[in-house]
């Protein structure tokens, strides 16, 4: 383990950003916990970090990442994924079970949790699958998976086609106290097609997915959650129609939360065209229209969309070199998430910085049921991110941590540089200043 233990430390004069606002303050950390937050804290014995002019955030919580392990360690493993997460400011990360084998047994969940601990850079939680081998036929042992550390369950990559089975899952999840995360996709409507059905898909004859492929299943799962009184979390919301359903469900008191991803907040189908159908823009669900993006941004401001998750989906270079229609879905997202949101949402005035921090830290921590993280406040875990928002960086392969580089941000300039990440008071990432 290369990160050294910082027993006691004061971070001075940082702009501390929480979900409810920002203020200049000192943060006193001891034994991996935040002791105090305030102006002019005195603690002579403590090591001091001068953070004047910099911003301090609660460590980010990613409810949705693919670490490809076990099975595709050539694309990502726990070590590379953890380094990428730490670099991106993440201190808690949920890894999806569409692995080989799937995370459908407590032993596998246990192993994931242990391997994550061994790397020790980020708190990795396994997401268990809802059905055995993610086949949509037989429920997994929810209680055993919960015992092995699964706070959430998902068959991510697929929806449960069987509505009765999904109903049973909602009912049984109450016993196990697990949250069901739904990947909303009507597979008959989507047919594995490549981009959002739109003027552009029609102009270029690209096989297309209508937005209702998402919202039809979202509507069903909201109805099931309401009927059973179960809890539902919608993964990677990409369309205005699903946002509308979410608003109605919230107003009706349904226990539903949701996430979107940086790429849906930044890009649209127009960017797919502009890129010359670069498969780095191919993702599932596919990128939406400008109207979808506007609806997602508005919902993020309102908090109707609670979280931003990365849906970090590493893919090998050769697979992403295939033509757009043949390449696999997915965007590599851990290292660019914050800077992408800061550059494209905060600097453009679409969202405030506290709204972004709410969606990256506070809200996902609450959704996953944590009471010890997601805010910079006394008693909370010392999961912290220090960033210099006045600086820019260019996304390059040389400084990339993930094993795969399938990102549409490659070679782009982003604002907001993460300088340091602390996980339980320990440094897990520190920017190497060149020159």
């Amino acid at each position: 383990m290369n990160a050294k233990h910082e027993d006691e430390m004061i971070i001075r004069n940082a702009t501390v950003v929480n979900a409810d606002g920002e203020r200049e303050a000192d943060v006193w950390i001891r034994n991996g916990k935040i002791e105090a937050v305030g102006r002019g804290l005195t603690r002579p014995a403590a090591r001091e970090v001068d953070a004047r002019g910099k911003h301090l955030f609660p460590g980010f919580v990613d409810l949705h990442a693919h670490l490809r392990t076990p099975g595709r360690e050539d694309e990502e493993d726990f070590a590379s994924g953890s380094r990428a997460a730490a670099k991106g400011g993440f201190t808690t990360l949920f890894c999806m079970p569409n692995t080989e084998p799937a995370i459908d047994l407590e032993g596998i969940a246990w192993w994931v949790r242990e391997e994550g601990r061994r790397v020790g850079l980020v708190d990795i939680y396994p997401v268990g699958s809802i059905t055995r081998e993610r086949k949509g036929k037989i429920l997994t042992e929810f209680c055993a998976l919960r015992h092995a550390g699964c706070r959430t369950l998902s068959d991510d990559g697929d929806s449960l086609a069987d509505s009765l089975l999904m109903r049973r899952a909602f009912e049984y999840a109450k016993l196990a106290d697990v949250l069901l995360v739904s990947h909303c996709e009507d597979a008959q409507l989507s047919q594995g097609n490549s981009m959002r059905e739109s003027r552009i898909s029609s102009r270029y004859g690209i096989s297309a997915v209508p937005d209702i492929a998402e919202s039809i299943i979202a509507a069903r799962d909201i109805a099931l959650a309401q009927y059973t009184g179960g809890r539902l979390h919608l993964a990677h919301v990409s369309s205005a129609k699903t946002v509308t359903l979410l608003r109605q469900a919230r107003a009706a008191g349904v226990r539903v939360t949701a996430e979107t991803c940086p790429h849906y907040l930044v890009f649209t189908v127009e960017d797919v065209e502009k890129s010359g159908f670069d498969s780095h823009y191919k993702v599932n669900p596919p990128l939406g229209t400008a109207d979808d993006r506007a609806a997602l941004r508005a919902a993020l401001r309102d908090g109707i969309l609670d979280c931003v998750a990365t849906d970090h989906a590493p893919h090998s270079r050769i697979e992403k070199e295939l033509p757009f229609e043949d390449a696999p879905f997915g965007i590599n997202g851990l290292e660019t998430a914050f800077s992408a949101l800061y550059t494209h949402l905060v600097l453009t005035g679409a969202c405030t910085l506290p709204q972004i921090i709410r969606s990256l830290s506070f809200a996902p921590a609450a959704v996953a049921g944590f009471t010890d993280r997601g805010a910079i406040a006394p008693g909370y875990t010392a999961d912290l991110v220090l960033a210099d928002l006045s600086r820019c960086w260019t996304v390059t392969e040389e400084e990339w941590c993930s094993k795969s580089v399938n990102t549409p941000f490659l070679s782009r300039k982003l604002s907001g540089v993460i300088e340091c990440t602390w996980y339980r008071g320990r440094i897990t990432y520190q920017e190497q200043r060149s020159g």
């Binding site: 059905e197 102009r203 004859g205 010359g276 033509p323 757009f324 229609e325």
Partner: protein, 302 residues
């Protein structure tokens, strides 16, 4: 040339006037000019198409270019070799022109940065088939004097047709009106662009059309439920003598070939429509010579 979408009208007209002058070469005793002597053309086909490949090959040979045919099955893609790899490998031979046919829509845009050679799109998935549209338009302007301000009716499986897309974009550059006609399940989403009208009733649509482009219908569309049966399809969308009688007397009927007689066009109309369809093939050679000449002499990707 990757598609008609990005091709300015002036370039289309330039290709037509070149094609006109090349037409005569094919009637000579010695069917060859040295226009592209010393140039190398690679026909790179990831999808079988003997007709299109032959037409390009002949066009290149009549211009004295050296032609190599390279058929790569799409299975080699599955094995991990990508189109980019294949093009980079062939790039080692310093070709001047790649003519590429590929099954994936819009697959060629990403290729341009990987080769110094010009690329001519010989059909990329459902996106475009620009030389087919150029030969259709060339044929029309030979017959009617121009492609200007016409009513162009495109009939059949528009959703899956690269020929329809290229023609749509091409004729619109000449202020022609496009009418798409086919079963609603085979008309692409959101066609309400300027100048494009959708009409599901062929009887109504043929009226006052100057040009009728009939598309090939694939048997497999029936099995994936785009329409219930070929019988019902032809009942609604085959060009019959009765329907053709509703059109203008001098209306041109085009088909990219090969025709499924009695499915797309009633066979009793063969005498009426076949000569022009064969003329299309002949014009295709001249148009492809013009395209190859214009991309082969100036290094560029049109």
């Amino acid at each position: 040339m990757l598609g008609i979408k990005a091709l300015p009208r002036e370039e289309i007209e330039a290709i037509f006037s070149l094609a006109k002058s090349f037409q005569e070469i094919s009637t000579r005793e010695v069917k060859k000019v040295p226009a592209l002597r010393g140039k190398t053309l690679i026909n790179l086909f990831f999808e079988n198409s003997t007709r299109t490949r032959t037409s390009f090959e002949l066009a290149a040979k009549r211009l004295s270019a050296d032609v190599v045919n390279f058929s790569a099955s799409s299975s080699s893609l599955a094995k991990g070799e990508t189109i980019i790899d294949t093009v980079k490998n062939l790039e080692a031979y310093h070709p001047d022109i790649f003519v590429i046919r590929v099954g994936s829509s819009a697959a060629l845009y990403a290729l341009t940065q990987h080769t110094e050679a010009s690329i001519v799109n010989a059909g990329d998935g459902r996106n475009e088939h620009p030389t087919q549209a150029l030969l259709d338009m060339f044929t029309v302007s030979q017959q009617l004097g121009s492609c200007e301000k016409l009513k162009v009716l495109i009939v059949g499986d528009i959703l899956h047709s690269r020929v329809a897309r290229s023609n749509m974009f091409g004729f619109r550059k000449f202020a022609s009106q496009i009418i798409l006609c086919g079963p609603p399940s085979l008309v692409p989403f959101d066609c309400a662009e300027e100048g494009i009208r959708v009409e599901y009733d062929l009887d109504a649509a043929v009226e006052s059309a100057d040009v009728i482009i009939m598309l090939r219908v694939q048997q497999e569309r029936q099995t994936s439920a785009f329409f219930p049966s070929l019988r019902e399809y032809s009942k609604n969308y085959a060009l019959t003598p009765r329907r053709l009688a509703r059109a203008r007397k001098d209306a041109l009927v085009l088909h990219p070939g090969p025709v499924n007689w009695d499915v797309e066009i009633h066979s009793s109309l063969k005498w009426r429509v076949h000569p022009l369809i064969l003329k299309q093939a002949e014009n295709g050679l001249a148009v492809r010579m013009a395209v190859l000449f214009s991309v082969g002499t100036k290094k560029r990707t049109l």
